[in-house]
Amino acid sequence: MEAFNLFVSNHIIEIYVLLLAIFLGFELISRVPTVLHTPLMSGTNAISGVVTLGGVILVRSADSADYLALGLGSLSIVLGMINVVGGYAVTDRMLKMFKKEKK
């Protein structure tokens, strides 16, 4: 009980952030026309490429001789970056279909 109280008291504000973010995430999506399902999926998928930031911090913090960490860290950057670049680009292409060419 003590531990619980302590944990809650110490982290209450983080919990708020988490719950508010989740709630907001739910609210953001509502009544999306079906045609936009795929672009929306693709767009949010590009955002999950934010994991690249972790790779960047990892590599920056790594010892410049620790080739394993550097290698794996760089790998994660490469993978994440593909997700980011490809994700945004492909979403953009999908959305171009909605541009109505005027006569």
């Binding site: 995430g25 693709s42 490469v78 997700n83 490809g86």
Partner: protein
């Protein structure tokens, strides 16, 4: 510096939120994607300049890795065919998951006695969730590509399912409690996670893959959030959570649009896919949903309506005029192609459309209509059947062979409104309904038109 970085990170978060919000409407979607991209760039800048104390930075490695990633991702996205986009998204998503897994592995390898339990836990989470998302997405990719067509179900699927999950939890718990990580355990965890992804996706049919990808997408978001927790990075944490949460809702919406439950999709092994498959034939009628039909009409430059007997039966003449007026106000030009024998008496369509006050200038007769159809974005067929039946052109055995028809297939898109699989006056099947370009909207014509009109008004 810290202050600025914190603010950069915060801006990035809200760029993501705003971006997602804007992606939900056709008008703002493109811009939303750009805002979200801006957020990503801001976040990366933040990660690059964030004060980390005395570190080696290794910017060369980072630059090289980023360049490499960009050089792979960009051309892939540019070259892919429209139809292959969903599988590419799956692939990208998988790579994001793999990225999180890698981070998890590295962090777990670094674990020492001082590492707090919480850090170990979030690393494990990033590893597991990312791993599942990785293999699951790759499998989804293969299924969509058509490389992998099989779908099998192991007997006692749920049992094994549970077993793997329990296995991962147990290994994770050991690591956290012990406060240390050894290679066999780590390897075991990685293998279990990767395997679980395969195990999860394999039984699901190809047609349901979009839903699965959306689900995996929300998993990748969660893995990014877990990785964010490792580095106490708010952008990753909140950004990941936004993706996780919105991805979940999107998944549910997609299921809803297919008129199925998520449960039903995931346990789909038992049910066969392809809900619209033709009765006796192996051809498939594609259905179109209300919002899609509305958007297709709204974003076209011209529409030709082909009314038939069904329009008369449902007395939808005034409703079609209303839709016409609405589309006009959206700069979509609407004309009517009147087939000489549409309906059940000479001039049947004329009587109806005159009653609805459709101006005579909007009516095209057979020849004019067939000329105009070649340059038409959407043709909307309302309760017509025989008069657009292509077998009149190409099937000498057909009872209507030789009758001139309206060549709907010349238009870019075809929407057909009818109540069901009923045939027309001549009682024969219509291959047009199975045509590549054709999408069906089932229901009484008047009700259908009203639905689309409502939808359009909401979009406006």
């Amino acid at each position: 510096m810290t202050g600025i970085v914190s603010i950069l990170y915060m801006v990035a978060v809200f760029c993501f939120a705003i971006g997602i919000r804007m992606l939900r409407q056709p008008k703002s979607a493109k811009q939303g994607n750009l805002i979200s991209l801006a957020g990503m760039l801001i976040g990366i800048v933040g990660a690059l300049i964030q004060p980390l104390g005395e570190v080696d930075n290794n910017y060369i490695w980072i630059a090289a890795a980023m360049l490499l990633g960009t050089m792979i991702g960009w051309p892939l996205a540019q070259k892919v065919k429209m139809t292959a986009m969903p599988q590419l998204v799956a692939m990208f998503n998988g790579l994001g998951g793999a990225s999180a897994t890698t981070l998890g592995i590295v962090e777990l390898m670094k674990v020492s006695a001082e590492t707090p339990g919480g850090s170990i836990a979030v690393s494990i989470l990033a590893l597991i969730i990312g791993g599942i998302s990785f293999t699951g997405s790759v499998l989804a990719y293969l299924k969509l590509e058509g490389t992998l067509r099989k779908q099998w179900v192991v007997p006692m699927h749920n049992f094994w399912n549970l077993l793997i999950l329990v296995g991962m939890v147990v290994i994770g718990a050991i690591m956290v409690v012990q406060g240390s990580v050894n290679i066999p355990l780590l390897l075991g965890l990685v293998v279990l996670a990767l395997f679980y992804g395969v195990f999860f996706v394999f039984p699901i049919g190809g047609a349901d893959m979009p839903v699965v990808i959306s689900l995996l997408n929300s998993l990748t978001g969660l893995s990014a959030a877990a990785a964010g927790a490792i580095y106490d990075n708010k952008t990753m944490l909140i950004g990941g959570i936004l993706v996780g949460a919105s991805g979940t809702i999107l998944t549910l919406l997609m299921c809803q649009a297919m008129n199925r439950s998520l449960w039903n999709v995931i346990l789909a092994g038992k049910f066969k896919a392809g809900s619209g498959a033709g009765g006796g034939t192996d051809q498939v009628m594609k259905e179109i949903t209300k919002p899609d039909a509305a958007i297709l009409l709204q974003y076209s430059k011209n529409v030709i309506v082909i009314p038939g007997y069904g329009l008369a039966v449902s007395q939808a003449q005034k409703t079609v005029k209303e839709l016409d007026d609405l589309l006009n106000s959206m700069d979509v030009e609407v004309k009517y192609a009147i087939h000489p024998v549409a309906g059940r008496m000479p001039g049947h369509m004329n009587v109806l459309l005159a009653e609805a006050d459709v101006p005579y200038e909007k009516l095209l007769d057979l020849d004019d209509a067939n000329a105009a159809l070649k340059d038409t974005d959407v043709v909307l067929i309302i309760g017509a059947n025989d008069v657009v039946n292509p077998s009149a052109n190409d099937d000498p055995s057909s009872p209507i062979y030789g009758m001139p028809i309206l060549n709907a297939t010349d238009a870019k898109h075809i929407i057909v409104m009818k109540r069901g699989r009923g045939t027309g006056y001549s009682g024969i099947e219509n291959p047009l309904f199975f045509h590549d370009k054709t999408q069906l909207y089932f229901g009484d014509a008047k009700a259908s038109l009203q639905e689309i009109t409502e939808e359009l008004k909401e979009n406006a």
